[in-house]
């Protein structure tokens, strides 16, 4: 197979997805290539889910400029794409008197950048607003524009919107070689060659390697691991806002995060690692996270951790985003998108659009661009009468697949219709398996539906693609 495109996007994380969707507004042939079984399974799934206000990053950096614009774009994006998003506000708190000065500097920096509504709170105000925080804190800077999202929902929705507007998605499609091809490049994958006039390197922690494939490696990536810990529902409502310390040069610090779904999460750590597959959580990381957040909020207990994960920030040597054309004609970096990349992604997409136009890509708006996608069915959130009416109409709404989150067969089917190919894909689209029993009940049911819908045997169902097999057929030993 060999197809010709105007733009080939390598990497189906939030960055690649946002760009593909932005470009799908125009009369262009676009392909989005992702090496994993589903989009969004890289760093874009394993992060804090915070839409940062942007006062803590210097306007001298690209990331510092794009973050504020990105934040502002989220209201419209959420209205169009129906992912979970809420502006809950953020506090940077002063653990020591000296931090109060830093807060003033942050406020001045934020005001100058146009971050809305920044306000310094004294100890009394802080205690009133967040009574469960440590009584030792000296004060805080409040940034009301901070928000939280379900990041995987964002990526799924961006890609769905892109596909609906004509973008060709290829998953299980790792780029293995890049070669000059007329006035563009040929992108080689096990699923064929994709020829593109422009090829965008949005490969996250792999972006330096993809750059090397093109002969355009101008930077190296150092993965910086962050571990995050989800806490028991017992602690829901403990804090209402995101709670940050004052930032250090390397990180925004360890935080208390009331996630979009209400669960409290604490983290992340920030540790440079060598292995790009190293998403292991560690006893050391847990100890560091809990020791720190207990200074912010003493009632958080390590025993409340119910699950944990780790993600890798793609830190390029300059410690800033690497966005722009390269010496290889048509090959464009959108690389080193470390934090706050999630926040900045919609602004990165605009930035890349303008950059491609400047490079000669003709942008002719499509009159039939459709910005919206349908909100996913969420049975558990409906009023009882609505649930009853649905179940009366469609029997699949009366078959419970996940008991903890009350997910019905109709929602599982819907997720498959929208691209779920793995158990994790179902989980992150429907929440089946995210509850207390962690899949003990729904795994067999979800496997059966997936197998039936994909037309494969049960043992071919995977957790997240690749070698993540779940079970073997009985008697396989003899066959093997």
């Amino acid at each position: 197979m060999s197809e010709r495109y105007d733009v080939v996007v390598i990497g189906g994380g939030v960055v690649g997805a946002a760009i593909a969707r932005e470009l799908s507004r125009f009369r262009l042939r676009i392909a989005l290539l992702e090496r994993q079984a589903e989009v969004g399974f890289g760093t874009s799934k394993t992060n804090s889910g915070i839409i940062h206000p942007g006062h803590d990053t210097s306007p001298a950096t690209l990331k510092g400029r794009l973050v504020v614009r990105g934040n502002a774009l989220y209201d419209r994006l959420a209205a169009e794409l129906h992912f979970g998003f809420r502006r809950i506000g953020q506090l940077n708190v002063a653990l020591e008197p000296a931090d109060l000065e830093v807060l003033q500097r942050l406020k001045a920096q934020g005001d100058a950048k146009g971050v809305p509504g920044l306000e310094l709170w004294d100890r009394a105000r802080l205690r009133r607003e967040e009574p469960n925080l440590s009584r030792e804190l000296w004060g805080a800077l409040h940034a009301p524009s901070a928000g939280v999202i379900n990041p995987y929902e964002l990526v799924f929705a961006l890609v769905e919107s892109a596909e609906r507007n004509g973008v060709a998605l290829a998953v299980d499609c790792p780029v293995t070689a890049l070669a000059a091809d007329g006035d563009g490049l040929a992108v080689h994958t096990p699923r064929g060659v994709f020829r593109g006039r422009f090829v965008l390197n949005c490969a996250g922690v792999e972006s330096d390697r993809v750059a090397a494939l093109a002969g355009a490696q101008t930077f190296t990536i150092t993965p910086r691991k962050g571990e995050e810990y989800m806490l028991d529902k017992r602690l829901e409502g403990l804090v209402r806002r995101l709670v940050f310390p004052v930032p250090s040069p390397k990180t925004k610090g360890t935080l208390i995060i009331p996630t979009f779904d209400g669960t409290i999460m604490v983290g992340p750590t920030a540790e440079d690692v060598e292995d790009r597959d190293d998403v292991a959580t560690t006893a050391r990381g847990a100890a560091a996270v809990f020791a720190f957040v207990r200074r912010l909020c003493p009632s958080i207990d390590p025993r409340d951790a119910i699950t944990a994960f780790a993600g890798l920030r793609a830190v390029a040597d300059g410690n800033d985003f690497v966005i722009g054309p390269t010496s290889v004609r048509g090959f464009v970096h959108v690389a080193g998108i470390q934090s706050p990349g999630l926040t900045a992604a919609p602004a990165i997409a605009e930035h890349v659009r303008d950059l491609l136009a400047a490079e000669g890509l003709a942008l002719v708006a499509k009159p039939d661009f459709e910005p919206g996608v349908r909100a996913p069915a969420r049975f558990a959130h409906l009023a009882p009468e609505v649930q009853e009416a649905l179940a009366a109409r469609d029997p699949r709404f009366a078959r419970v697949v996940c008991r903890c989150e009350l997910v019905t067969e109709a929602e599982i089917d819907d997720a498959v219709d929208h691209g779920a190919r793995t158990l994790d894909g179902l989980k992150f689209r429907t929440r089946a398996g995210m509850g207390r029993c962690q899949g003990g009940f729904c795994t067999p049911r979800a496997m059966e539906i997936l197998a039936r819908r994909l037309g494969v045997p049960l043992h071919a169902v995977t957790k997240r693609g690749g070698g993540s097999w779940i079970a073997l057929p009985m008697g396989a030993e003899q066959e093997a």
Partner: protein
Amino acid sequence: MLGRMEGDYDVVVVGGGPAGLAAAIGARDAGAARVLVVDREDEAGGILLQCIHAGFGLHYFQEELTGPEYAERFVARALDRDIDVVCSAYVSGAGLDSDGTRRVRVMREGHGIRTARSRAMVLAMGCRERTRGAVHIPGTRPAGVLTAGLAQRFVNVMGLLPGRRVAILGSGDIGLIMARRLTLEGCEVVGVFELMPFSNGLTRNVVQCLRDFGIPLHLSTTVVEIHGRDRVEKITVAPVGADLAPDLARRWQVPCDTLLLSIGLVPENELSQALGVELDVVTQGPRVSSTLETSLPGVFACGNVLHVHDLCDYVTEEALLAGRFAGELAGGVKRPRDNIRVVPGDNVRYCVPHTLAPGREHTVYLRCQRPLRPAAIRVGDLVRRKLGFVTPAEMITFRIKPDVLDRFHGEARRIDLLGEPAGAHLAGAEP
């Protein structure tokens, strides 16, 4: 009748496992005319349907049955008694009306969502397994880490193997049973790792499922890291000290592609909590009176939703009783309230029921906190009975005769277990 659900009921039972079925039978035999059992699986019988090993019914039927056979007998008895049993039907909510009517909301495939009303309700939802989240194992999150019960379902119901080289964390009964089952299916079970200095499973299972197959049981040992990106590749294990903290200097690695978790069961009480039933923080099940009535009048509980049982026969015994009291209540029988509180004393982790009444014989189920031998049970200066060897894995069943309580005046009765702590390593393998 199978599949019928119409009109109002005397007693509605949530959950059609051994507890639910026996409760329904108990209610019917106590005179309740209309009894309904609701279960979310496609067939009634609960967890027994996947327990195809023999080992059920020794106490109740004096013969050894498989799980499905044991369940089958109760399904037949329920249907003989004209009890309505509906399956593929999930109870998604329950409530009490102001006039005292109990309500359950049933989501049922092919029948939409309906409400069933009754005079009494029995909670029999069973329990679920604890997962990785409960034990905080550092490392990656690959496929191949699953609970032993899910693995059992794979093997016995779905015709799948969970992996080829299997390690097991925790020595709960399901894990032990699965160690044997998987060995018989040609898998290599590389070892069972148990944090405590004694097994958490029944002694007979340690002998018949591990020892007879040469599978090592590593007591006072735990898993400290899981490795592998897509699929489990190996685990790191380490011995633990008296404080249960791992000694990493003595850790070692075990290659395997699967890690089964058999680290305990938790009563499934979300529905009870939504109803407003008071729970015991130790059992994580409802607090109940001697009639197995919860803190909400007319709402009863039995089986693993009340407290985790070791043997199904005791579930049946307890559930018949709960059903009987539910049936009587639906028929208008009133009993005086209990006036004696049972207090778990020395070495006792919990006692169920939580209160007793004079004038009747009672069965109190209790569990000890650690292995003891020789053990004795003591109720103040009224009773002292020898028990031999006791271990937390095995429930202690204690019958209290009416005369004992009649001699007692006061409001709380403390139950103690006496004895010497039993040798650390022997406990699991005691014949």
